[in-house]
Symmetry: C2
Subunit: 334 residues, 2 copies
C-alpha cells in the first residue's frame, strides 16, 4: 500500500532508520562486551524484541508482569521484570534495586540493599542474581559532562553495595541498568555488565535535545518513529490544524516536532487536534496535506496506538507500507 493511503493519525516506523538504529546499538554492545537487554517498555512488541535478540541482545526488560506475559507468548525467552518480581513455585532469579539517584524506587546503597539481598539469598525459591541500578532521571540531562558525573556517582553506589554484599559473602553477578542517554558511561564503568536501553530504536524529539561531549546534539540514533497526520483545517495563513492531539501523542516530554518543516511548530494540543503555528515556516501547506510528527516521548506515544505501520522509503515519493505490527502489549498496565 502506498503511504498516502494510510488513515491518519497513524504510528509509523521508518524501517530503514529503525534497522540502522538496531544495528548500531548491537555493534556497540558487541564492541564493548556488555550485554544488551533492550527495554521492551518502549516498543511493547515481540516482533521488535525478536529483531533485537536476533542481533545479539540477551533478551528484554519489562516494566510490568503483563508486558512480560506478552513477550513470552510472543516467543521471547529471556525476560527481566525490573520492578515487580517473585511470585511463583519456581526458582526465580531476583535483582535487588538500588536507588542510584532517581529518588523513586530502590533500596539505599550499601548495607540496606545488601540486607535485602541476604533475605533473597536465604529464601527457598529465590536466587540473588545481582543489582538493578538504573538512573532514569540522568537520561535527559542535556550536558554530557553532567550525565557522566551522575553515572559516576551511580557507579560509586553500586561499588559500595558490592562491598557490603562481599562482607556478607554475597556477590552481584549482574549489574544492570542504563538508558539511551547514558549507556556509554555505564558500558565504560567496568561495573555494569548489562544495558537496558529502549528508546534507541526510535529516538524521540526529547533525546535529540541531549548533547554529546563535543557540544553537538545527540544524533547517534535516527528518528524512526513518527505520528502521521493530516491537515484537517487551514483557517488562516499562520495556522493549520492536524488530526492528532493527546489521544495520539504524549506531550509529557515536550511537544512533537514537525519533521522536515523548518519553522513550523506544533502547539496547543487538545484531545483530537493539534495546531501548527506556521508563522515562521517556509512550507506551503494545504488542507489534506500530510505532516509527520516526531513524538516528544516515544514510550507513552506508542502506548496510545494499536499498531505500527512500517514504511519503507519514508520521505520519498515511493514510500510504501511494508508491514503492520501490533503493539501487542499496549495497555499492559499490571
Amino acid at each position: 500500500m502506498p503511504l498516502a493511503q494510510v488513515d491518519t493519525p497513524a504510528l509509523l516506523i521508518d524501517l530503514d532508520a529503525f534497522e540502522r538504529n538496531l544495528r548500531r546499538m548491537a555493534d556497540f554492545a558487541a564492541k564493548t562486551g556488555v550485554r544488551l537487554r533492550a527495554h521492551a517498555k518502549t516498543h511493547k512488541s515481540p516482533v521488535i524484541a525478536a529483531k533485537q535478540v536476533a542481533l545479539g541482545a540477551v533478551g528484554v526488560c519489562c516494566q510490568k508482569v503483563s508486558e512480560a506475559e506478552v513477550m513470552v507468548e510472543g516467543g521471547i525467552g529471556d525476560v527481566l521484570i525490573s520492578t515487580a518480581a517473585a511470585r511463583a513455585g519456581a526458582t526465580l532469579d531476583v535483582l535487588v534495586e538500588i536507588d542510584v539517584g532517581g529518588r523513586r524506587c530502590g533500596a539505599a546503597q550499601g548495607e540496606p540493599a545488601a540486607r535485602i539481598a541476604e533475605l533473597v539469598a536465604g529464601s527457598p525459591h529465590l536466587r540473588f542474581a545481582g543489582l538493578q541500578a538504573y538512573h532514569g532521571s540522568a537520561q535527559h540531562v542535556r550536558e554530557a559532562g553532567e550525565r557522566r558525573a551522575l553515572i559516576a556517582r551511580a557507579v560509586e553506589q553500586v561499588e559500595a553495595t558490592r562491598r557490603a554484599l562481599a562482607a556478607m559473602g554475597l556477590e552481584a553477578g549482574l549489574v544492570t541498568g542504563a538508558g539511551t542517554g547514558t549507556y556509554e558511561n555505564e558500558a565504560a564503568s567496568g561495573v555494569y555488565n548489562e544495558l537496558q536501553c529502549g528508546s534507541y530504536i526510535f529516538m524521540d524529539a526529547d533525546y535529540a535535545r541531549n548533547k554529546r561531549a563535543d557540544g553537538s546534539l545527540f544524533a547517534d540514533y535516527e528518528h524512526a518513529l513518527f505520528v502521521y497526520t493530516t491537515i484537517m483545517s487551514r483557517p488562516v495563513p499562520e495556522r493549520a490544524v492536524v488530526d492528532a492531539g493527546h489521544k495520539a501523542l504524549a506531550v509529557d516530554s515536550g511537544m512533537p516536532v514537525p519533521w522536515q518543516l523548518p519553522g513550523a511548530q506544533y502547539q496547543r494540543p487538545s484531545d483530537e487536534h493539534g495546531v501548527l503555528d506556521l508563522s515562521g515556516a517556509t512550507a506551503r501547506l494545504a488542507r489534506g496535506d500530510k505532516v509527520l510528527l516526531v513524538p516528544g516521548h516515544c514510550d507513552p506515544t506508542v502506548n496510545l496506538h494499536d499498531w505500527y505501520v512500517g514504511v519503507r522509503g519514508l520521505g520519498t515519493a515511493g514510500a510504501r507500507v511494508e508491514c503492520v505490527w501490533p503493539v501487542a502489549a499496549r495497555g499492559a498496565l499490571f
Copy 2:
C-alpha cells in the same frame, strides 16, 4: 469481587456518584428544554451512552468516525460527528462549524460560514442542519464571569451567522455546542438548542478548579472516575511511589489529585511510576496500601485503559466491583 482484589492500576467508576451526575445533567436539560447530546469522546462506551439516552439525551456526539462506528454497533442510533462528516451515498445532515473563539477549526462567523452552508444546501446528498459552535477553550477558564463573557461573544457570532444565513434564505435548525464548564450559559442564551457536555459524568480534577458565580468551586458534579493505584515503594518517610504514571494517567491538564489524602501531592510521573510527596500529609501509608487518584483530565485518561471497573460503595469497607465495561472505542483515532 471486593475492590481490594482489583489489580492496579485500574480505572474505577464510583457508580453512585456517576449515576447522580447522569441524573443531574438530565434534569437540567429537561428543565431548560435544551437537548442534551452527550459527548462520547469522554467515555468511549456504548454502555454509558445508552444510560445517557435512557435518561433523555437525544444521542451522542463523536469526534471521530471510528468512535461513531463503535457507538452505532453498540446500539446508539443518533450520532453526531462533530468535526468529520459527509462521505456516503445517503443524505447526511451536515453542520457547519464556526470558530467562536477557540482558534482551532471552524469557518469565520457570518458570510464565510453562510457560504459553506449554501454549498451544503446545494449538494445532492447533504442537508444543511445547523451550526456547530463549541468554544473549547472557554471551558476551563476559572472565573464564572469570564466564561459567561466568552460565551456571550460566541452567541454574538452565532447570531451574526444566522443573519448571514437568513440573507441567503437558509436557517440553522440546530445550534449545538457547550461543555461542562459553560453549558448553563449556552442553555440560557436562547440561541443554542443542544448541549454537547461530556465530562460531567466523571468530573476531573481540572474542572473542579473552575469557580461558580459566587466564587465557590464548581462542584455541581461529583468525581466519579478514579485511577486505582498501589503503593509499590516507601523508601523514605516523605515519599511513596505508586504504580501509575504516564501510561495510566493523562497529565496534560495538571497532575492527578490523591483522593481524601489531605496534603499528599502526586508529582514527577514517569512512564509507569508516580511519586506521592507526603511531606505535608497526615495519613500514614504503607507499601501495598491503595490510593485513589482523581485524573487531571478524564478523556485522555480513559483512552489509556481497556475497561472500566464499576464499584459500588466506593470509600466504604464494603466497596465491591459491580460491573466491568469495555472502553469499546479506546484507540479509535480515525
